[in-house]
Amino acid sequence: MIELRKDQLHIRFPELHPQARMSIDFQRTLRIPDDGKDYPLPAGLGRFPLRHVDDFGPDVPERWLEHGGVMLPMYQSEALWINFAGGYPFAVKIAAGKIDAVTGKTWSNSLHRHPQNYVTVPEQPWLDGYCVAKGVIRQFVAMPLGSGYSAEEQLTGEAEHGGLQIVAYPLKRDVYEEWAAKRQAVFSKSFTPMLAMRCTGVPDMGLAPGGRMRQEIYDDPFKLTDWDPEHAARCFVHIANSQVWRAITGEAPPTVPLTAREYKRNGIPWFEYYSDGKAVEGSGVLDRLKSIAQFATGQRDEPLSDNDSVEIDRIVVLRQGLEKGQVREGRF
C-alpha cells in the first residue's frame, strides 16, 4: 500500500513483513548547467509538495483522475531528484512519461535484469535523472508537455503521459530474513537526507534530459527471483506547471528555484557519492536523446536562462556505510 504523508510517499507491506516499508520524496534542487560537462550532485533544497489528484477533481485534467496518484508543482526548466529511504530492500522502477529512466525502454510493470530496468533501495539513495552512460545521468528537468523536449516526446513523438511513474517491489520475506541476519549493521538511515486564476491551460509537464551529472545506478545485489512480484505498489506522479498550481490547489507553489549563481553565492556545497556497488551500463537509447540545450539549438529556442557553466568549489564526499570516526553529512 502507498500512503501520502507530509509530502512523502510511504510504501509498506505489513502483511509481508513488519519492516517491509520505504519512503520516496521529490527534492527541489539546482538545475545544473546543460553545457556538456559532468557535474557533481547538487544539494536537495526541500521537498516538493505532493497532493492527491482526487482532492482536486474538477480542476485537474480528466486523464489525471483516470491515472490516479498524486501531483506536484514544477516551474518550467526546474530540476528535481528522487530521494529513497528505508532499510528493507526494494526494487524500484522509475519512468518519466512512461520511458524507463534506467533503460530508455517503454514502460512495463515488470522487472528485468538484462538490462536492469530498476534501482535497488537502500543501495540507491537517490536518482537525479536519466541513466545515459555508466556513472552518468542527465538531470530530470521539467518542460511543458507538448514542447517536444521530454524524453517521452523525443522517443515516441507523442506528448501523452508526462509525469513520473513508479512501482516498488519488496524483497521476499525469506530472502530478507536471511539477508538481515547476515548484515551486521543496517545503516540505511544515514542516507536519509537531510523547494488567482482558473486553470485554463494544460498544466502537464514532462521531464526532459538536462545537464550531465556523475551518478551511478547500482547493479542489483540480489537475484531477480528474490523480489516479490505478489507485492507491488504503483503510483503515477503528475507534474503540474507551478503557474497553475495555485489555481488547482489554492496553495502557493514553492518559490522560484535558485540559479547556479545564487547557489554558488550562498556557498551551498556539491556532493559526490561513493559506494562499493557495481554500476550498471548506461542506456544507449537515453544517451542518444538531445539535452534541452541541444534540442533548443535546433528549434532556435532559449528555454534555459542562466545556463552558464559554473565552477565547483566545494564538494562534500559521501560514502555508503560510514567508518568509525567519519562525520555523517547528508545532502541538504
Binding site: I2, E15, G68, L322, K324, G325
Partner: protein
C-alpha cells in the same frame, strides 16, 4: 513520567553511534538544540521528555517515527490534537472502536494513494 522514552532514545542514539561517532550525546544535543546535560538526563529518565518541537527534532535526527517518539513521551502531536478537537465526539468514538482491532484492520482505514488506469 513516561519511563520508556529516555531509554528508547538512548538505545536508538547508541545504535547509531556504533557506526558514527557524531551520535554522541553532546553532538546530538547540539544538533537538536538542547544542552548535552539535559539530553543525558532525559535519556536516564531523570527529567520529563522535552517539548513537542524538540521531540520532533530528535525523531528527525535519529531517523525515528515522530508519532512513536511522541507517544512514548505521553504526547499527541499538535496536528492530531487539532484534528481531534475539530470533531471530538467522532474521533473519540472512532478511537474507542478501533483500539482492540488488529493492525491490518486499522490500516484498511488509512487513505491509500489511488492507482488508476495508466
Amino acid at each position: 513520567m513516561p519511563k520508556g522514552f529516555g531509554d528508547y532514545v538512548r538505545r536508538c542514539r547508541e545504535a547509531l553511534r556504533e557506526q558514527d561517532r557524531s551520535y554522541s550525546v553532546r553532538q546530538v544535543a547540539q544538533r537538536v538544540g538542547v544542552e548535552p546535560s539535559f539530553l543525558s538526563k532525559v535519556e536516564r529518565g531523570e527529567v520529563p521528555p522535552p517539548s513537542e518541537a524538540k521531540i520532533l527534532a530528535l525523531a528527525q535526527e535519529l531517523g525515528e517515527d515522530p508519532d512513536v517518539l511522541l507517544a512514548l513521551a505521553g504526547k499527541v502531536s499538535s496536528d492530531l490534537q487539532q484534528a481531534i478537537l475539530k470533531r471530538p465526539e467522532l474521533f473519540a468514538t472512532l478511537i474507542r472502536e478501533l483500539k482492540d482491532m488488529p493492525d491490518r484492520a486499522v490500516l484498511r482505514l488509512v487513505r491509500e494513494v489511488r492507482d488508476g488506469k495508466w
